[in-house]
Symmetry: C2
C-alpha cells in the first residue's frame, strides 16, 4: 500500500500543485530507493518533518503502536485500513482515515485515479485536508464513517476474496477434467461487465435461479470434491431462497 501511494503522489499527471509528498518513513530505506529521492526517505521518527498530514500505510496491528510513537502532538495522522477504527489511533494527534478501497499486490501496478478513497476525520477542517490530498490522486472520494467502512470491508471480502476463491474452485474442476481454464475467461469477464449495467439481482442466471433441480442434482453427482460440493449446496440454496434465511 505504502509503495502504491508513493507512486501515486509522485505521478506528475495526477498530483495537484498544492499537494506535495515531503518524506517517506521506512525501517528499511532500501525498499523505497527505487521510488523516491534518497533525501526524502527517513528511518528515524526524530527526522520527521512538519507536515499537514501523516499517512500511516502500515499493517492493521501496527497502527496503535506506531501512532503512539510519533514524536509530536496535535497534528493530523490517518491510517489506511478498512477494518481498524479511527479511535485506534493515539489520542495525542488529530485522527483520520484514508482508505483506498482496492486490492494491492506487489506484482501488479494499479491506476490510483480509478480507486475510490474513503475518508473519515473527527472535524471538518481536517476533512478538507484529507479531501484535497485524496482528490490529488483519485477521481472518486467519499466521506465514509467507521461503520460504513466496516460494511465496505466485509462486502469487499465477498466480492473480491470469495469471488477469487470461486475462480480457484472453477480452475480446480477444469484441471481435474483436463479442460483449459482459459475457456472460462470470456465468461468471467462478461459476468463482471453485466453488473456494471444491471444489478446483481437482475443479472442472476443459472440452474439455482431457474430452480432447475435436474441440473443441480447432476452437478452435485459430478462434483467429487466434498468441499466443492458443500459450497455448491450452500450457494445454490442461497440463490433459491434469494438471500433469505435458510
Amino acid at each position: 500500500m505504502a509503495q502504491h501511494l508513493i507512486r501515486a503522489f509522485n505521478n506528475p499527471d495526477v498530483s495537484a500543485p498544492q499537494v506535495e509528498l515531503i518524506q517517506a518513513f521506512s525501517r528499511k530505506k532500501d525498499q523505497l530507493i527505487h521510488l523516491l529521492d534518497s533525501g526524502k526517505i527517513i528511518d528515524d521518527f526524530q527526522d520527521l518533518a512538519q507536515a499537514d498530514l501523516y499517512i500511516l500505510a502500515i499493517s492493521d496491528d501496527a497502527i496503535a503502536a506506531v501512532s503512539s510513537q510519533l514524536p509530536f502532538e496535535n497534528r493530523l495522522v490517518v491510517h489506511t485500513s478498512g477494518s481498524v477504527a479511527i479511535t485506534d489511533l493515539d489520542d495525542k494527534n488529530r485522527k483520520g482515515v484514508f482508505y483506498p478501497l482496492q486490492t494491492f499486490s506487489k506484482e501488479k501496478l494499479v491506476d490510483f485515479k480509478n480507486i475510490p478513497v474513503c475518508l473519515e476525520t473527527q472535524n471538518e477542517s481536517d476533512y478538507a485536508i484529507v479531501e484535497t490530498v485524496a482528490k490529488s490522486i483519485s477521481k472518486t472520494v467519499f466521506p465514509i464513517d467507521s461503520n460504513q467502512r466496516k460494511a465496505l470491508h466485509v462486502s469487499a471480502v465477498f466480492v473480491n476474496n470469495f469471488v477469487n476463491h470461486l475462480y480457484q474452485i472453477g480452475q480446480e474442476i477444469c484441471e481435474e477434467n483436463h479442460v483449459p481454464f482459459e475457456i472460462l475467461k470470456p465468461l468471467i469477464l462478461e459476468t463482471v461487465q453485466k453488473i456494471m449495467v444491471l444489478s446483481p439481482k437482475e443479472a442472476q442466471t443459472g440452474p439455482a435461479k431457474r430452480n432447475d433441480l435436474a441440473t443441480i442434482k447432476s452437478h452435485q453427482l459430478f462434483l467429487s470434491n466434498e468441499n466443492h460440493d458443500t459450497i455448491y449446496k450452500i450457494l445454490t440454496q442461497s440463490i433459491q431462497h434469494n438471500g433469505k434465511k435458510l
Copy 2:
C-alpha cells in the same frame, strides 16, 4: 441463444463465405422478424430445407423431443447445451454439440468473436463441418467431449452464477449500511483483471488467506444476516484449508 446465433451468422464482418444461414425455425415467426428476411423464417418442420448442419438452439428439456420430430434422417444435428449429453439427440440423425460458453441475456448484446465454442461430434468429417461453422463466428473453438463439457458447465456455475450471487450479497451488505455499492465496482473489476495475469491461487488475498482470525471474528460479528454469515464461514474455511476437504 437462438437470437444471438442468428445475429452472429448474419454479421457481415464475421461470416466466412462458405457458411450461410439458410433458414431459422420458430414456432413464433414474429420473434425473429427483426433479425432475418421473412422468407428465411419457417414455423413448420416440413418446410426445413436441405442443409449441412441443423443447430437446435433450444432449452435442454426440449432437445430429445425436437430432435425426434425432425422429418429427415442421417443429417448432422447438433444441440447448444452445456449440460445435455450428445446421446440425448435422436438416433436417426448424425449427432453433435455446438456449445458457446457464455451467459446470454436478451438485454445485452454479446460479441460472438470472443466466445469460446466447444464442439463435439461422433465422427471426424462431421467435426470438420461444425468447426468451419464455429470458426466463421468465433476466434476460439475447442474440441470438448461430453465429460469435459460437463466440467465446464459446473465450473461456469461457480465462476458465473455463484460469483454473481456474491456480488448480490456484497450489494445487500452495502444497502443495509447505507453505502453505495458503486464504491466496490473498481475492486470488482481489478479482482477479475488480476486472474487474467495471475492464477486464482496466486491472486488470493484477504483475512482468510492471511489467517487473520481477529478480522474474521469481527466480520462475523458484523454480519447480521444468518445466510451471509453461513456463506462467510464456509468460504473462509475453504480458503484456510486451501480447497481441501474440511
